[in-house]
């Protein structure tokens, strides 16, 4: 039993290493992870005279949204098209291990991009109230967003554009209704029910609380929902792929 777990961890780590080498350590992906959140953030914050710490909290979540969910949606369709997925699944791994490896790589990618923002805040003496819980929230947010990306890729297609379209249709509206750029309290009241359904509302509110000291929801509730959404997305992603993988392979 112990050997099986050791094998599983080694295989998951190998898949994570492969993903980082093939997909994340690439110029265009790195540039996208930097350019999109920074310029979007600047578009909202420049010249509005807002506090720097408010901007920092927004930038952290915005960066996570653009990094942790950017590549996971395309890995499965891309590898199906390249005919590497079949080669991979012929090895002693399960679909679940492959997906956990994908989520791990994406989570690391998200955290790597958020770390300099937190470090910059620390240099400017802007630190979260509880650094440990902030790291927990950021990690689970990255896991949740990575898993959300994996969920999209469960559609048994070999055309990455199909999945990117779906992913963008969900992700971009979430950015506006989740209180990332504009706090929920300042959003029109009719958006509130939608905001409460968004998985990003909770980490955004929690991180805002850590940096600004005030939040819309009780912080413990936000943290619990952040962890819950991550787990639910992860389980859903694994289940959906488990169901669709044979269909995906049958299509080849």
């Amino acid at each position: 039993m112990k050997d099986e777990y050791v094998h599983m961890f080694k295989a998951v780590w190998a898949i994570c290493w492969k993903d980082i080498k093939l997909y994340y350590a690439k110029g265009p992906i790195v540039v996208t992870g930097v350019i999109f959140p920074i310029f979007l953030w600047m578009a909202f914050y420049a010249g509005k005279g807002l506090e720097l710490k408010e901007g920092l909290a927004s930038l952290i979540i915005l960066t996570l949204l653009f990094t942790a969910s950017s590549v996971t949606p395309i890995i499965a369709p891309w590898e199906t098209r390249q005919r590497t997925l079949e080669m991979l699944l012929s090895r002693p791994v399960t679909v679940r291990w492959v997906l956990v490896g994908d989520v791990l790589a994406s989570t690391i990618f998200g955290i790597v991009f958020v770390t300099p923002i937190i470090a910059l805040g620390a240099i400017l003496n802007i630190t979260p109230a509880n650094p440990f819980l902030t790291i927990v929230a950021i990690t689970f947010t990255a896991v949740g967003l990575s898993s959300l990306g994996v969920m999209f890729s469960a559609i048994p297609t070999d055309t990455p554009a199909d999945v990117i379209l779906l992913s963008s249709l969900v992700k971009l509206p979430l950015m506006f209704v989740s209180g990332i750029l504009v706090p929920i309290t300042r959003l029109p009241s009719w958006i509130l029910p939608i905001a409460l359904l968004s998985p990003i509302t909770y980490p955004a509110d929690f991180v805002r609380m850590q940096y600004l000291g005030s939040s819309f929801l009780p912080p413990y509730l936000s943290l619990i929902f952040t962890v819950l959404f991550a787990l639910v997305f992860m389980i859903l992603a694994l289940e959906l792929h488990e169901k669709s993988i044979f269909k995906r392979l049958e299509k080849r």
């Binding site: 050791v6 093939l22 590497t84 079949e86 012929s90 090895r91 002693p92 791994v93 044979f246």
Partner: protein, 306 residues
């Protein structure tokens, strides 16, 4: 003990029955070939035997382990070269091998040693740092075989291993398959190259419309298919004016002093010809017996002529 056992495998895609009750057994250390026309169910069968597809009905065992229920155990015992699969194009040959080695949970120092040995064996060592996308088709196929061998498999599945390769690469891969057999590895392959199957395989199964229609050693199948042998005899003088009644039960052709007889029992024909030559004072200058080609056997069995 059998290395591969399949019991009544069925698989449909929508209304199309791709595999319709395939059962087969492959002994340890054998090379077994699965032959059939396009769309006969070869790749679907191999995918079910390697755990890439779940059968709708039936089951398969590899070294007595159930392919579906014990998939990780089975995948550790097998090496697979899927049809038209690719190594990761943006990883080097070396990185592809190291990555696959890690999936088997092999310690790093051992993976490196095996990777080096395999790349040397397959004449790829000098291009180990080249990205897979920059390798030729033959080199990529050899890399896929190396990736299938890095886990020290007991059973090797090769789906069309020499398809689309140049003569030299195909020959190298055939030599490698025979080496694997000598090392005790069971090899299960599908191929379009019928003569290759006849040359390599200890046993061959012919699949048609998702069913195994014939199974046995290539020579047994030749007999089973009732394929014809060509007997060519050259006499010392033309046969135009000779009576050839004795040969009439067989199909034959005369060209001056050359007689071509198409038959299924060549020994019987040769005896009759020698008797005939003696009786009419003819000298036999040459006798050539050409056994039926395996391709002919395949065509007869795969098209249902038999």
């Amino acid at each position: 003990m059998y290395a591969i056992e399949a019991f009544d495998l069925h698989k449909s895609f929508g209304n199309v029955k791709a595999v319709n009750g395939v059962s087969l057994k492959v002994r340890k250390g054998e090379i077994c070939g699965l032959l059939g026309p396009n769309g006969a169910g070869k790749t679907t069968t191999i995918r079910m035997l390697t755990g890439l597809l779940k059968p709708d009905r039936g089951y398969a065992l590899i070294m007595e382990h159930d392919v579906v229920k014990e998939s990780i155990k089975v995948k550790k015992l097998i090496g697979v070269v899927p049809e038209e699969a690719n190594p990761y194009p943006d990883l080097s040959a070396w990185d592809n091998l190291i990555f696959v080695g890690r999936l088997y949970g092999i310690p790093n120092y051992e993976i490196r040693k095996r990777a080096s040995d395999l790349l040397k064996l397959l004449d790829l060592y000098t291009m180990k740092d080249r990205k897979a996308k920059n390798l030729s088709k033959g080199q990529r196929q050899k890399l896929l075989i190396a990736m299938a061998l890095i886990g020290n498999p007991k059973v090797l599945f090769l789906d069309e291993p020499t398809s689309g390769l140049d003569v030299l690469s195909a020959r190298k891969i055939r030599e490698l398959i025979l080496e694997m057999k000598n090392e005790g590895i069971t090899v299960f392959l599908t191929t379009h190259n019928i003569e290759e199957a006849g040359e390599l395989c200890d046993r061959v199964a012919i699949i048609r419309n998702g069913r195994i229609v014939a199974e046995g050693a290539p020579n047994e199948l030749k007999i089973k298919a009732g394929a014809y042998t060509y007997v060519t005899i050259i006499f010392n003088k033309p046969l135009e004016n000779c009576k050839l009644d004795f040969i009439k039960p067989y199909e034959y052709k005369v060209q001056s002093s050359k007689l071509l007889v198409i038959c299924s029992r060549p020994a019987e024909v040769v005896v009759k010809i020698v008797e005939y030559a003696k009786k009419y004072g003819l000298d036999i200058l040459d006798i050539k017996i050409s056994p039926p080609s395996f391709e002919e056997v395949f065509v007869r069995l795969a098209t249902g002529e038999v």
